[in-house]
């Protein structure tokens, strides 16, 4: 039974109160200090992608050192740790989080929900400038005496703030301050994303009619708002330890015969705080990717998403569960075995909603009219990659399997597959999909296909052998294997192979960058709805969408976002703002 008041065509668009729109008056307030979510989204995305390129180059340097130890004279052990730390922190926080929530969130939430803008445009603008300030502070740490911190992206005390770790003087302080600025900035943005979903939807857009992209970004924003404070508290306490001599995390330490002024602090406390943020962070990156992939698959397979309700519930369930699994990063910290058992159980339970999502993607494809466009290729590659990375997650989630694999290359391979390669494939897919809306032009297809195949196959050639290295016992975070006889020569050969592949895949990204810039002027005109998609961002009055997103009147939503190939419909898709067709209401009755 459906007890929905059925509307008729021609319902007045009223009810949605006319928001006072901020109107830019000069070039500067339009493009630089802009309060328009679409401009802010582009600012976020360009900044994050640029940092991504820097992080990519840092990884090249690491790979060169691993394959040809000593070939680059400026990479010593200290420099290697600094490279690891900066690469990890940049990718996790400043690229992936910022791009998914700040970039895609800002662009897609108002457009997909039929809103004119975010609810607090001023805070939204501040959010970006705080982010940029955080980035500047982070990069400035390359220039300070002693260089950036080399504490590893987990920043575990006591090593992160004791002598011997590079960047002790300035680097670690800059890193912590940068993170704190980022968190303050993100909180302003995150409040916007959440409140816009709660309050800014247009008439008829119920929660259960939102595209899954919005569900993913919304849930991830809520999680980020609740998880980042843990990193904030940890950063403040460590800053106190480092600058003011408190002992939140610092135990009594004897250093070269001398007793340090610290005493009584608990390093484990930091691990708890860090991973209370760190694990949800994995899903903060994954959930928007899940949502975006669902939409890409549905559009490019011309089929409604299979099990929409289950998809929504799974997103929410994953979001809630991810807060009670953090200690699975700490199996080797000497915790009570019962805790380990508890956290192993919760970790494996997350596999259930995740598997539901994978089944639903596959069932959406089943008998679909699959168009192998560039975004679709990336979406399909994501499913495969995510399943691969998820399977090794089952290994590492079990305490007894994790303990021998802990701190080996196996872990590096696992998390790069699951939260490195997989979300980045989605980012690429999403950019190929929405670039026509942002710029009005399509990205070049041949370049896109080249980019896809090199990136997809190359990523596997990089990270699959790494699992094998890990099983052999090759440790992570070592800047060279040295004269250790326990590794066969094949391990060294494999390292060289991985490095060559990493260089190739990295270089292929230039094709993507070139494509982005070249298509801006020379791309084929896209029209308003090149993929013939149902959701509201494709139904704007103009492309690129003008200030205020929609024309004089906001759209009214009559249906969900997945009406593809509806029997009897004149076209193979029905936009969300299309009033009921003749006879449609009767034919849908259960």
């Amino acid at each position: 039974m459906v007890d929905v008041p059925l509307g008729v065509a021609g319902v007045p668009p009223a009810e949605v109160e006319d928001v006072e729109l901020y109107h830019p008056k000069s070039w500067v307030t339009h493009y630089v200090f802009s309060q328009d979510a679409k401009i802010i989204a582009v600012q976020y995305s360009v900044t994050a992608l640029s940092i991504g390129l820097v992080a990519l180059m840092l990884s090249w340097l690491m790979r060169l050192q691993l394959a040809f130890p000593g070939a680059l004279s400026f990479i010593d052990a200290d420099a290697y740790y600094q490279l690891i730390t900066m690469h990890g922190m940049m990718m996790v926080v400043y690229v992936l989080t910022a791009l998914f929530l700040g970039g895609f969130g800002n662009y897609l939430i108002p457009l997909m929900l039929g809103a004119r803008d975010m609810v607090f445009p001023y805070a939204n603008m501040l959010s970006f400038w705080f982010y940029l300030l955080a980035v500047v502070v982070l990069f400035a740490s390359f220039a300070v005496p002693g260089g950036p911190t080399g504490a590893g992206w987990t920043l575990y005390p006591p090593q992160s703030i004791t002598a011997g770790t590079p960047g002790l003087a300035w680097g670690i302080v800059m890193m912590l301050v940068s993170l704190m600025i980022f968190i303050v900035g993100f909180t302003m943005g995150g409040l916007n994303y959440v409140v816009t979903v709660l309050q800014g939807r247009t008439r008829g857009m119920t929660l259960m009619r939102m595209p899954l992209t919005v569900w993913g970004i919304f849930t991830a924003s809520v999680m980020a708002l609740l998880a980042f404070p843990a990193l904030f508290v940890g950063a403040v306490m460590m800053l106190f330890d480092r600058l003011l001599g408190t002992s939140f995390f610092m135990p009594e330490i004897i250093e070269q015969g001398a007793r340090l002024p610290y005493g009584g602090g608990s390093p484990i406390l930091f691990q708890h705080l860090f991973w209370f943020f760190g694990h949800p962070e994995v899903y903060i990156v994954a959930l928007p990717a899940f949502g975006i992939v669902s939409d890409l698959i549905s559009v490019h397979a011309r089929r409604n998403i299979f099990g929409y309700r289950m998809m929504v519930w799974a997103i929410v369930a994953i979001g809630a569960l991810s807060f009670v699994v953090w200690a699975h990063h700490m199996y080797v910290s000497g915790m009570n075995p019962y805790f380990g058992f508890f956290f192993a159980t919760t970790t494996l339970i997350i596999a259930i909603p995740t598997a539901i999502k994978v089944y639903n993607w596959v069932l959406t494809l089943w008998r679909g009219d699959i168009h192998l466009t560039t975004p679709m290729l990336f979406a399909l590659a994501f499913i495969v990659t995510f399943v691969n990375g998820g399977l090794t997650g089952l290994f590492l989630g079990n305490v007894v399997v994790d303990v021998p694999l802990s701190d080996t290359m196996f872990v590096v391979a696992h998390f790069h597959m699951v939260m490195g390669v997989a979300p980045i494939l989605v980012i690429f897919g999403a950019i190929y999909h929405w670039y026509p809306k942002v710029t009005g032009r399509l990205l070049s297809v041949p370049l896109g296909q080249f980019h896809f195949w090199v990136t997809f196959l190359g990523a596997y050639l990089i990270f699959f052998p790494m699992h094998y290295l890990g099983l052999m016992g090759v440790p992570r975070r070592y800047y060279e294997m040295g004269e250790t006889a326990i590794y066969p020569p094949s391990a060294h050969d494999l390292n060289i192979f991985i490095t060559v592949m990493a260089l190739l895949v990295g270089a292929a990204q230039l094709a993507f960058v070139f494509n982005l810039i070249w298509s801006l002027r020379h791309g084929r005109g896209a029209g308003g709805n090149p993929w013939r998609a149902c959701s509201l961002e494709w139904q704007t009055s103009a492309t690129p969408p003008p200030h205020g997103n929609f024309g004089k009147e906001l759209p009214i939503v009559y249906r969900w976002a997945y009406d593809y190939n509806v029997p009897g419909a004149p076209e193979d898709f029905i936009p969300q703002n299309q009033p009921p067709l003749a006879g449609e209401i009767a034919s849908r009755a259960p």
């Binding site: 929905v4 509307g7 106190f240 406390l269």
Partner: protein, 236 residues
């Protein structure tokens, strides 16, 4: 970490209850036509939802500090510092500020602009006095030799009162803006709705600050130690 997990369970519970009112069992693929929101006053103002979400964020921040505090409390080298008597007086000031804002809210409903102005200024004065009082407490403690770095108990005391103080000062900025609005509004201007909302938001935020302070004060005064002990025995 039990405390922060408990707080999160509360937040997730509220979210789940709210979701359950949002027709999450519906079958959107069968529903054609405009679905209006459930009858009622419509969604609350964006600023109000925003504040509530922010309170959840700030709540996690304090719950995490308290979690860390309770983990650290068990170590042997923990010498609690004395709770200065002035803290009682400060607590009273914050209660007064919170109560004044509640009264101001009632005044704004009765459309008494003078009452609103009087209440806002009063709450501001009480809150400023609270901040000054906290600073005096810090000075007293430093003069008696309870330095930040000399014991973990001191470090936690300064950290938590400092975090709370920063949130109070952020609130004062918002209160100042609402007060300015109150003094520039005329009797029947369009601004009245905005003013009423501002007063209400301030009142909500001040109640939150008060509750957080009462919990922190209980921890500092040492009553919570017994409470943690009981919990630990019940769990083990």
């Amino acid at each position: 970490m039990t405390i922060v997990v408990a707080f999160l369970v509360l937040v997730i519970g509220i979210a789940a209850w709210w979701l359950s009112t949002q027709r999450i069992m519906s079958k959107p693929w069968l529903e054609i036509g405009v679905i209006d929101e459930p009858p009622g006053a419509g969604p609350p103002a964006a600023a109000k939802i925003g504040l509530c979400v922010f309170l959840a964020v700030a709540g996690v921040l304090f719950a995490l500090s308290i979690s860390a505090y309770s983990m650290r409390l068990q170590a042997a080298d923990w010498w609690p510092l004395p709770a200065p008597r002035l803290l009682w007086f400060n607590t009273g000031l914050l209660i007064l500020a919170s109560a004044t804002l509640e009264w101001t809210k009632a005044q704004s409903r009765h459309a008494s602009l003078d009452g609103v102005r009087f209440g806002l200024v009063g709450a501001g004065v009480f809150t400023l006095a609270f901040v000054v009082g906290q600073l005096v407490v810090w000075r007293e403690l430093v003069e008696e030799g309870y330095f930040l770095a000399s014991n973990p108990a001191n470090a936690f005391f300064y950290l938590m009162t400092g975090l709370h103080g920063l949130h109070v000062m952020g609130g004062l900025v918002a209160l100042a803006r609402v007060t300015l609005r109150a003094f520039s509004a005329d009797e029947v201007g369009v601004e009245r709705g905005k003013l009423r909302l501002g007063v209400e938001l301030c009142a909500i935020y001040w109640h939150f600050l008060l509750v957080v302070w009462l919990v922190l004060f209980a921890l500092i005064a040492g009553w919570a130690g017994d409470f943690f002990e009981i919990c630990r025995q019940a769990l083990s």
